[in-house]
Amino acid sequence: MIAFGSLGFLVPALLLGLLALPILWWLLRAVPPAPLRRRFPAVSLLLGLEDRETTPDRTPWWLLLLRMAAIAAAILAFAQPVLNPTDRVAGNAPLLITMDGSWASAQSWAARQDKVNEVLQFAVQDGRPVTVVLLSDGPRGEKPLNFVNAGDWISKAEGLEPNAWEPNYTDWIGAAGTAEAFETLWLSDGLAREGRAELMAAFGEKGDVSVVEADGTVFALRGIGIESGALSTTALRLDAAGSGAFSVLAEGPDPAGITRSLARAEGALDEGAREVELAIELPSELRNRVKRVVMDGVRSAGAVVVTDDSIQRRKVALIGGGTEQEGAVLVSPLHFLRKALVPTADVIEADFTDSLQANPDVIILADVGEMSTQENRAVLEWVEGGGMLVRFAGPRLAASGIGQSSEDPLLPVRLRAGGRNVGGAMSWGSPKALQEFPENSPFFGLDVPNDVFVESQVMAQPDPNLAERVLANLADGTPLVTGKDQGAGRVVLFHVTANAEWSSLPLSGLFVQLLERLAISARTSDLDAAELEGTIWVPEQVLDGFGVLRDAPALAGVDGARLASGVFGNDMPPGVYVSGDRRVALNAVAKDRVLEAAGWPLGTNFLSLTRSEEQPLQAWLLMAALALLCIDVLATLLVGGRLWMRGAIAALALAVLPVQPADAQDEAAILNAANNTVLAYVETGNSKLDEVSRAGLLGLSTELFRRTSIEPVAPVAVNLETGELSLYPFLYWPVSDTQNVPSDRAMERVNAFLRGGGMILFDTRDANIGRSLSGGTPNGKRLQTIARSLDIPSLEPVPQDHVLTRTFYLLQDFPGRYANADVWVEAAPPDAEQLEGMPFRNLNDGVTPVVIGGNDWASAWAIGENGRFLFPVGRGSQGERQREIAIRFGVNLVMHVLTGNYKSDQVHVPALLDRLGQ
């Protein structure tokens, strides 16, 4: 094969044929065009004339050129030219295909797999042994490079998926040494990484290395935090060239628990910029719901940031006992709580009733003793509904005597009367320090500072279940913090005050950490190995390479230290890890990550990843040659004077002119619909169904014409994707389970149609038989799918006094071919009420945008060309009656569409007559 740039020839030898072109030129020049025979009566006058010129017996130069071009095209065609010929990795040595397999390669993963597949196909042809490794997987087993038959890899390679973490090259340097000579094809993700050059050298020792890099840039999102109330994240890219706009979505569950995009922010990377910070403004309720932030349209774990507690802003209600004294800020029981919580939580300070109405996550009662029964009940209800009640002790609590005789549901333990003082001026003993936190405590692992002393506390009554409720102890073993589950919620009691009166705890950093561990305040610091020491974190959800969060039931827990190291691997993929009440999100892109392009040694052999499909050009060239020869035929005729120019031009014009009449047809249809009343039905693509709809609407149109002043013309079919909907007042939409859901654009048009006052009659045509089974009929389910994106108001079965029951005929039921299904219309406004003396409520002001039922009305209405009904309805006179009612329903419906609530207004007639004194 010979290649010129992106053009290659498979049979280049044939190109020598081009040398013959000059000979051909000479030959063709010599041959005069064949004479033309022409009948001409005046030939008698010509007899005896001499030719003066003889030039035109030579072929004209342009005709020669045309023929040359045709022949050249044919020669080129048979040389089998190929545009973008695939580069093959030639050779016979074993081939190692390595893929970085990181999140950065997920964006172009399909192209990478194609490339691998292509290389494997060639390897099969060449009979080379092959192995494919994902570097991010790490070397496995004794023989990490196990070269096998390439055919075995073809199916396996299709199943390869990128990992959400980046490869560790150093592991592989040793692995490269275990195999004999091989060639390497390295599908790199393009990011600079430690050890890449060394690994490259290790591969290079074994044989040639070719590198494939993706053409596009790599996008990533780094970190997430809250800055002045907005979510902020940083968008990164590998390639700083050009300016690019992107958008970032914040996703999380909606109130129904379905994950959807809660907010969207647009960002732009300027020319030369590698990263840009982006803020997503959200109300705090929504912000707390955000589970992840993704870059729209980028399928990569790097472009996903999973959130954890650090962006959660708990709503904390602070309620202090007694009245705050002006000026005594530092002794206020709430002061230290306020200081600790305000930066990381939404703090509410109000009385019980108002606080509970704000539905806080946490209520902190600082030294609150007796509460009214009502308050008690309300708080208890709130706790049992999942709230977290944190109480601090204090003189009032101690004096109130609650929880002393029996266990109070709002206190974790029974209290002893009085409490105790240690280390005070009037007491013996010294202030007590804290013990290490017990293992079952949420505080386990926190360092106990040695400057925290407790001077006073309320004491827990020894109880059989006291031990399991203790969260923190003093050095002498008396409980300092106790907690218990109450209903779905939790009650925690600090046996000291929230101010520095009883202990120095509120003055220490431990206070904040304790609150954080209780998931009251959000984590502000980074993961700290020492802090995480000893905790076990269970992956709740993990990211795959494409950035999809999946449940991770089978993964083992991860040690806190390992978690803090931030080195991902098979045992610790990025994702959300849970320990107790705390959730930590580990994202694929580390907080300090900067994307930099990988550097390769000079002279590295690069192959293209985004191969534009190999394009054989033979067919095109042959066609060109053929076309040229056709033109040659015409031209030869022209030169010989045998071409009737006008005919040729007409033929050419016919061939070239685009066919126009479709427009005219459209216009006629639009005129027809605009000038007449036309009933329309939605084309479902099922020709039988469409025919029934057409016949049904034809029958209804005929009856309307006969019975009412509505004089519709023949019904038309409407294609939702292309048709103009605004021309029709009414659409009949039969639903079948095979129907495609219309495109979003079509749905937008349908919504516009509904908003503009149009009406759609949905007909599932199944009488809802089997509705109770499996949540609906197949047609009904399809209707739900279709209607999901439609602007449909809340519905109710047609009420007795709906205007539809009296727009023309007085009706109470709406049968079609079936008579047993409910018919649903837009629900009446909740404030509709029947006025005194009025027969009807004054209902919807306007036309119900949809009527939904399953009575197969079109079949009941359908008439054939001869005007006879196509489908039987019921039996005997009963059936005839049912058909009549079905037709009356159709008449009422169309009347309703065309006259709106006119008949509804009639309810005022008695009042009007009354006023007129009649």
């Binding site: 001409f40 009566p41 008698s44 035109p56």
Partner: protein, 296 residues
């Protein structure tokens, strides 16, 4: 090229009558009235066979009973015979070339030369017949006659085509003073045309020559290597570049036209060159004027 065969006699007559509408009755000049014996619409100012009333005269013995005009006789005691003015007729001989060379047209939107020639000929005949003249074809050995029947017969003869390459006016005995109308392309053998015209002039017959040509015969719009063939295939001529012949050809055509005109002038005839892309009416008008023109 054989379209003429599809023309039915009826159609030809209909076309011809359309072309003849609106013309005044064609009255042939009657300058040799006295010398002729044929009857015509030219009154002889004496009683005789004719259509116009001349006089009543008292019946004499020997008058056939059916000649008595009973209406006139009833007003008097004697019997009267109604006499007509003696009229004589101009006779016109027609020749329309129907040879193969007339079956030509250079453009499918134009009529065949032969078609145009037939229509002109028959239209002239109809005009003449309306004027009461008798008409006849030169091929027809019968003397010219008048009346619709004769026109029908002529039309039936005219739709026939001849297979000869070029047509030659037939030799027919014509009575002195008759008129002749020859319609052809006159592209055939020059000698035979001269002979025919001389013969007619010798018989003291006057008339007109109408040369019908196709526009392409006038412009010679051909190029390239071409073999020209006559319509019947009898003649052929090859050229390597038709365009180069154009000037020579046009010269020869002009020469042929000049010869025709000169010949006509010499014999007292009139000559018209008519092209098929011109309206037939103008040619018919010319023919009408030529035949009904001032007597010589």
């Amino acid at each position: 090229m054989n379209d003429a065969a599809q023309i039915t006699p009826d159609q030809l007559r209909r076309d011809a009558e359309e072309a003849a509408v609106g013309f005044p009755a064609l009255m042939a000049g009657a300058d040799q009235l006295a010398a002729t014996i044929s009857l015509g619409a030219h009154g002889r100012r004496r009683a005789g066979p004719g259509d116009e009333f001349w006089q009543y005269r008292p019946a004499t013995a020997g008058d056939p009973l059916r000649e008595i005009d009973w209406r006139r006789s009833a007003r008097a005691d004697a019997h009267f015979v109604r006499q007509m003015e003696w009229q004589n007729l101009q006779a016109v001989h027609l020749w329309v070339d129907r040879s193969a060379s007339m079956q030509y047209r250079g453009d499918k939107d134009l009529p065949l030369k032969g078609e145009r020639a037939r229509i002109l000929g028959l239209a002239a005949a109809i005009l003449l017949a309306k004027g009461g003249e008798s008409v006849g074809l030169m091929e027809d050995p019968q003397p010219p006659k008048h009346g619709r029947g004769q026109l029908t017969k002529m039309a039936m003869r005219l739709v026939e085509t001849a297979s000869d390459d070029y047509g030659v006016p037939p030799n027919k005995e014509m009575v002195r003073g008759n008129r002749a109308l020859l319609i052809s392309d006159f592209l055939g053998d020059w000698e035979s045309v001269i002979a025919a015209l001389s013969r007619a002039a010798d018989q003291r017959v006057q008339g007109c020559l109408v040369q019908v040509l196709d526009p392409s015969e006038e412009s010679f719009p051909f190029d390239g290597r071409t073999i020209f063939e006559s319509m019947g295939g009898g003649l052929s001529f090859e050229t390597r570049r038709a365009k180069a012949l154009r000037d020579d050809y046009l010269e020869r055509l002009a020469e042929r036209k000049d010869q025709l005109e000169a010949l006509a002038r010499r014999t007292g005839w009139m000559y018209l060159c008519h092209h098929t892309d011109q309206p037939a009416q103008s040619a018919l008008m010319w023919i009408h004027n030529a035949i009904a023109g001032p007597a010589r």
